[in-house]
């Protein structure tokens, strides 16, 4: 009787442990802070390097500008500068290959790309019973 119990318990432990290969919540938090620091330093290239491919493509399609310019200009640039975090994240949630980092003034979403996190959305506003509305959005 004990063997099936051990197999199922081991499976549960594996899931709860989140499986060592993926980067953790601390890494997601670090990527978000690095992104906002790059925007604050007017370093569009560094900021774009931290965006997921689909977020980068959508930003360029929506603005008609290359990402390093688009991320610092217009509504996107203004929003990101206004919401730059002055301190640590309020909360970090990781599930599988997706993460949400909630900052004092912003909400961001990330995905695993290779072995590191990349932002799929930033500058997000909550909407009742609907997904967040974000100035940068992948997918």
């Amino acid at each position: 009787m004990t063997r099936p119990v051990l197999v199922v318990a081991a499976a549960a432990a594996l899931l709860l442990g989140g499986c060592a290969a993926s980067p953790g919540g601390a890494d997601a938090d670090a990527v978000v802070h690095e992104f906002y620091a790059a925007v604050a330093d007017d370093d569009g290239d560094a900021a774009c390097a931290l965006l997921a491919p689909s977020a980068l493509e959508n930003l360029e399609d929506d603005t008609g500008e290359p990402c390093p310019d688009a991320v610092l200009a217009g509504d996107v640039g203004t929003t990101l500068v206004e919401r730059a975090p002055a301190g640590p994240a309020t909360s970090v949630h990781v599930a599988g290959r997706a993460a949400q980092v909630v900052l004092p003034d912003d909400v961001t979403f990330l995905t695993v790309d290779g072995d590191s996190w990349r932002l799929t959305a930033a500058g997000c506003d909550a909407r009742p019973q609907r997904p967040y509305d974000c100035v940068i959005e992948g997918g």
């Binding site: 499976a11 997921a52 695993v112 997918g139």
Partner: protein, 223 residues
């Protein structure tokens, strides 16, 4: 060769279970990787996929319903009857039956299992061991389904730029109950179908069928 013959049923179903599980993993990672590639992300390996919550919830939601089906079937057939079905006991045998019929304690035989031979807690436990194990596996796999399901659901939520949920919140969500109930309905239908169809239909040589020439009224006989 006779060992293979005497254990063929287990070997056959064990083998096709493993084949189907591998097939589920391969088709599952292919499905996930279509989404990964569409999003411009690196594809996942099979080894990575089988440790994801998505794979775990897809496996355990099916396991829990199978073991619930067997648990309910084992327990229900103790008391509930179906005239004409080989899945039912005979019409005068409802209940836990006599110690003599069950060959326990003073009615046990030399080849009876050890825990069946002497009255006490061991006999009580052994007398319900099948239901207990099925029930335990059902509860544990349903629990793992809920844990893995909460993580997989939260992952989908965050992919779609929505808030993740806790395990407690997930237990009240349609995703958990939809997965659970869609599996339960098919299991219960399968048992009901087997009980009823076997009244009127036959499969020669199968112990799950009545003998081909047995009347539709004969109950609790096997072919």
């Amino acid at each position: 060769m006779s060992r293979l013959k005497h254990h063929g049923l287990t070997l056959f179903f064990g083998a096709i279970f493993l084949a189907a599980l591998v097939g589920q993993a391969i088709s599952g990672v292919a499905l996930v990787n279509r989404e990964q590639v569409a999003a411009g992300l690196d594809p996942m390996t099979l080894a990575e996929y089988v440790t994801t919550s998505q794979f775990a919830v897809d496996v355990t939601e099916n396991w829990q319903s199978e073991f619930l089906q067997f648990l309910l079937y084992i327990l229900a057939t103790v008391w509930l009857l179906q005239r004409g079905s080989p899945e039912s006991k005979q019409l005068d045998e409802a209940g836990r039956e006599s110690d003599e019929d069950q060959r326990v304690a003073e009615f046990s035989r030399p080849d009876s299992p050890p825990w069946a031979r002497v009255r006490g807690w061991r006999l009580s436990v052994y007398s319900h061991s099948l239901g207990m194990v099925m029930g335990t596996i059902f509860v544990l796999s349903w629990f793992v389904q809920s844990l893995a399901g909460a993580v997989a659901y939260s992952e989908d939520q965050m992919r779609d730029f929505a808030d993740p949920v806790s395990w407690g919140q997930y237990l009240g969500l349609p995703d958990f109950w939809s997965r659970t109930l869609q599996n339960w309905q098919s299991e219960f239908l399968a048992v009901a179908s087997m009980v009823v169809l076997s009244i009127y239909l036959r499969e020669r040589g199968s112990p799950e069928s009545k003998p081909v020439g047995a009347s539709h009224e004969s109950t609790g006989v096997e072919g």
